[in-house]
């Protein structure tokens, strides 16, 4: 069984938001909404500053509180461990939004919970998620964490990395390379 994951290289990510826009177009996201976002955090006092840039989205947690907290089973695991929302089961109750430690979800104009799907519809056709395929910095690596010879597992093996809010215990599958 594949377990899909993503590594994003903080060294080369420019925070340009190509991922954000490409995702929006690919998935026809509502006009004012996004499935991913750029977060910049700077510390220190000028000029001794450190800046971190994160391209953030659903972490496709292996232990996903949105899935256990969904009263109808709309939030579920699909192929590759990707968390999806089945719209026909979703009531828009927002329990998943309250449970998600990453603020990764929103209620769309149709009234359903929506979030990143790792572009599973593209992955099934042998393509990369839209954000990964357009990233001008080539800072994003998508792949199967279970494939030890794949670029993702090899990169994570070779480089220091961390997940966001790993302490929340949700076993996130998006990693940031230091």
């Amino acid at each position: 069984m594949a377990r899909y994951g993503m590594a994003i290289d903080k060294r080369t990510c420019m925070g340009c938001a190509s991922c954000v826009v490409s995702c929006k177009v690919e998935n026809k996201v509502d006009e004012t909404a996004f499935r991913c976002r750029i977060v910049q955090r700077s510390t220190g006092e000028f000029p001794n500053v450190h800046l971190d840039i994160f391209s953030e989205r659903c972490n496709q947690c292996a232990d996903a509180p949105c899935v256990w907290n969904c009263p109808t089973g709309a939030s579920h695991y699909a192929g590759g461990g990707v968390v999806l929302v089945a719209e026909d089961l979703c009531t828009g109750c927002k329990a998943c939004m309250a449970a998600c430690p990453y603020d990764a979800r929103f209620i769309n104009e149709k009234g359903y919970a929506e979030k990143c799907t790792f572009c599973l519809h593209r992955v099934k056709q042998g393509m990369e998620p839209s954000c990964v395929s357009t990233c001008p910095s080539r800072a994003m690596i998508f792949g199967d964490l279970e494939d030890p010879n794949g670029a993702l597992a090899r990169t994570l093996g070779a480089r220091g990395h961390r997940a966001l809010k790993a302490e929340a215990g949700t076993k996130p599958n998006v990693f940031y390379l230091e």
């Binding site: 420019m14 340009c16 929006k24 006092e45 500053v49 800046l51």
Partner: protein, 721 residues
């Protein structure tokens, strides 16, 4: 520049085989759809990346980077990704408009094309008979402008300018021309991907989103090249750097000349290169004797030790060092000299024509479509290029505007403005609007109703880049290429492609002889056939890519300078009575209680041309004014508080949010350019954020080439907005 014939490889393996393919496949949920992929190139900015558009049942649903176009390599920047937001912008210009109210009042009546073009042609005929054809001027930006340029030349005017020269990259062209006998051009011939040491002077690559350069910047980081960023603001690029030098604004020349001083004093420069290719080293040495790091430290506020360390490391990486020339470089009015200082530094390191420095690009000559020789204008252009501004080698948009206002040396009575919002692209809009007041005719050709359209007598709605052909793009690059822009879908509303508008106007002006082609397909096919290709072939491929150039200097290379060498000392400048070696001069200082106003780019926006785009418009919906946290504390200013900027001449901006940050010097503020629209018909962006352009009321004009330096303006922050 090497130019080669197309024929050699038009049928070769380098041609891309994407695009043009018509395919049908069932889509599980929504039933079968007709899906087409069409290759073209982007126009969300001037970089012109290759694009593959997906069209489903006549709707453009996705834009992807063309995989084999050398400028995109399968990737697009956020703006390119959001191109459908322009195509489907509900605020687009839809019908030709003729003004009914007063100028600037945005009052128009809809007109047919025949009526609108007839109106313009009659006015242009009158201007020609009363004042001569030179009294018509054209301002243009973007790839589609060429057809209007040709039309105006055929009409008899030399007054054709793009703000991208005197308001943007002009100074660096002049600085490099003086030194290496060659400008930088676009795309820049910078070998960022292979450099071992990258220096960015005020250039915020990554926020300044030139797709190819950003791709190479990432590659440069991955390869572990050393990076030094010199900027009053801690940019994204600064966060990637080994050295961040928080320079005092306006002192870059002092820093650059102190680096020159160390290279010469410590004998660290590239002796072999300089001996072989250079001239004027003794004069350079004499002129920079006093420019020690200690001298520069007092001016730049960068410690002398840092200055020394950085340049020693730079020298260790030579010749694979790239002191980047930047792009928007009209800052302080001595910008051509600063660019020359950058060129001299690159020359000493031997980076021009070396791997990891500047490559010598290749190009392709596409034969022209045969037309009769264009008339020679009876009077020279009146912008001041080559006269008042002796080294300007392109027409000055600001010069045309000034001459319109002064009526000297001869009157200008009509403007055609194509693809540029002069109210924001020229500094000091008040001045621009006064010039517009002198006109008998203002025609605006554009896709969206920006401010300038509100002042037009006639507004002509152009089809977007996804709905039209334009002229071929022969790219000068490491791998030269020829690219085609073609319609992905048919023009919406009553919009028309630029080529059609220009040609129709030309025909109405009696210029039939210059239009021996019936339509654009015939024109393009005619050009392509002469190179052994065809329109059909290009429609499929989208781009044809040539094998890479070597890009390095041959041993006997003759530079296109008067001496044939790299000129460390410029006799041209000496003969003009100006500094033959760049010198630092102090810039105006902020009046009490004021901060220097700097501006730059967001990766999501191309000037003010994309702020109305609803696809990416919600990511960065308005600009902010960056204020250092200590400065903010002194002013009692809170995060996100709304303020107005009031400049030294009392001009007050729109209210704008304060971004209190540790990422800028305490003596400056910074804004992203292109916001603060007042055009009411740009419904998504009107009234959001503040315009830097209107605060730039002091323009420091470069005496060498007429560039409009814009960073000598100062603002105070007015609270309670």
């Amino acid at each position: 520049m090497e130019r080669r014939k197309f024929l050699q490889i038009a049928t070769g393996g380098a041609a891309a085989a994407v695009g043009g393919v018509v395919a049908v496949w069932p889509q599980a949920a929504a039933g079968p759809k007709l899906v087409r992929k069409v290759s073209t190139f982007c126009e969300l900015c001037f970089w012109k990346c290759g694009v593959v558009a997906t069209v489903e049942d006549g709707v453009v649903t996705k834009l992807d980077g063309h995989p084999s176009h050398p400028l995109s390599m399968g990737r697009l920047c956020p703006r390119g990704n959001g191109g459908t937001g322009l195509l489907y912008d509900p605020d687009r210009l839809k019908k030709p408009l003729i003004r009914t109210g007063k100028r600037g009042g945005e009052q128009f009546k809809e007109a047919s094309w025949d009526e609108a073009l007839g109106y313009i042609a009659r006015k242009m005929e009158r201007i020609k008979s009363e004042h001569g054809p030179e009294a018509m001027a054209l301002f243009t930006h973007g790839h589609g402008g060429s057809f209007f340029g040709n039309m105006l030349k055929a009409y008899g005017s030399p007054n054709i300018a793009a703000p991208s020269y005197a308001q943007c990259r002009g100074p660096r062209e002049v600085g490099f021309q003086l030194t290496f006998g060659s400008g930088i051009g676009s795309p820049e011939n910078t070998d960022i991907a292979n450099t071992r040491f990258l220096v960015l002077i005020g250039s915020h690559l990554g926020e300044n989103m030139h797709n190819t350069q950003v791709q190479e910047f990432a590659e440069c980081i991955r390869r572990g090249a050393k990076i030094c960023v010199v900027d009053p603001r801690y940019s994204v690029a600064a966060s990637k750097a080994n050295w961040y030098l928080p320079i005092k604004p306006g002192t870059d020349i002092a820093l650059l000349m102190s680096w020159v001083n160390v290279l010469l004093e410590e004998g660290l420069y590239n002796k072999e290169y300089v001996d072989r290719y250079g001239t004027g080293l003794a004069e350079l040495r004499a002129a920079t004797k006093e420019n020690t790091p200690e001298w520069a430290a007092a001016i730049t506020e960068i410690p002398a030790e840092t200055i020394r360390t950085v340049v020693r490391e730079m020298a260790a990486a030579k010749p694979a060092v790239l002191v980047h020339p930047g792009r928007h470089v009209t800052w302080y009015g001595d910008d051509a000299q600063r660019s020359r200082a950058i060129a001299i530094l690159n020359g000493l390191l031997g980076s021009w024509g070396s791997k990891g420095g500047f490559y010598l690009p290749g190009g392709v000559d596409i034969p022209k479509y045969a037309v009769p020789p264009l008339p020679k204008p009876a009077r020279a252009a009146l912008d001041g290029a080559g006269t008042r501004y002796p080294l300007a080698d392109e027409t000055l948009a600001s010069g045309l505007c000034d001459a319109t206002l002064s009526g000297s040396p001869y009157p200008v009575k009509g403007w055609i403005v194509y693809g540029t919002n002069l109210v924001q692209s020229l500094p000091n809009p008040k001045h621009t609007l006064e010039a517009i007041d002198r006109l008998d005719l203002l025609v605006v050709v554009d896709v969206l109703p920006a401010e300038i359209a509100g002042y037009a007598d006639v507004v002509l709605p152009e089809a977007t880049y996804l709905e039209r052909y334009d002229d071929l793009y022969a790219g000068t690059f490491r791998t030269p290429f020829v690219a085609l822009r073609q319609p992905v879908v048919k023009p919406m509303y009553d919009s028309r492609p630029g080529w059609w508008i220009a040609r129709e106007l030309g025909l109405r002006l009696g210029l039939q002889q210059y239009y021996p082609w019936r339509d654009i397909e015939q024109y393009l096919d005619g050009r392509l056939t002469k190179m052994g290709s065809s329109l059909g072939q290009m429609q499929k491929a989208g781009v044809v890519v040539y094998p890479p150039e070597d890009g390095t200097l041959p041993a006997d290379h003759k530079f296109d300078t008067p001496s044939g060498k790299v000129e460390f000392y410029s006799k041209t400048l000496a003969e003009m009575g100006v500094d033959a070696v760049p010198k630092h001069y102090a810039k105006p200082e902020a009046p009490e209680g004021h901060l220097r106003l700097l501006f730059g780019r967001s990766p999501l926006h191309t000037f003010g041309r994309t702020t109305n785009n609803r696809v990416m418009g919600y990511v960065v919906r308005e600009n902010e004014v960056w204020v250092n946290n200590k400065t903010a504390a002194e002013l009692g200013l809170k995060q996100n508080e709304r303020v107005r900027l009031v400049n030294q001449d009392g001009v007050k901006s729109n209210a704008v949010r304060a971004r209190v940050t540790n990422r800028i010097r305490p003596d400056c503020v910074y804004m992203v350019h292109g916001f603060g629209h007042t055009a009411s018909k740009l419904r998504h962006t009107a009234g959001r954020g503040a315009s830097d352009s209107e605060l730039v009321t002091r323009v420091s004009v470069d005496p060498l080439m007429g560039g409009t330096g814009m960073f000598n303006n100062f603002v105070r922050l007015e609270r309670g907005a």
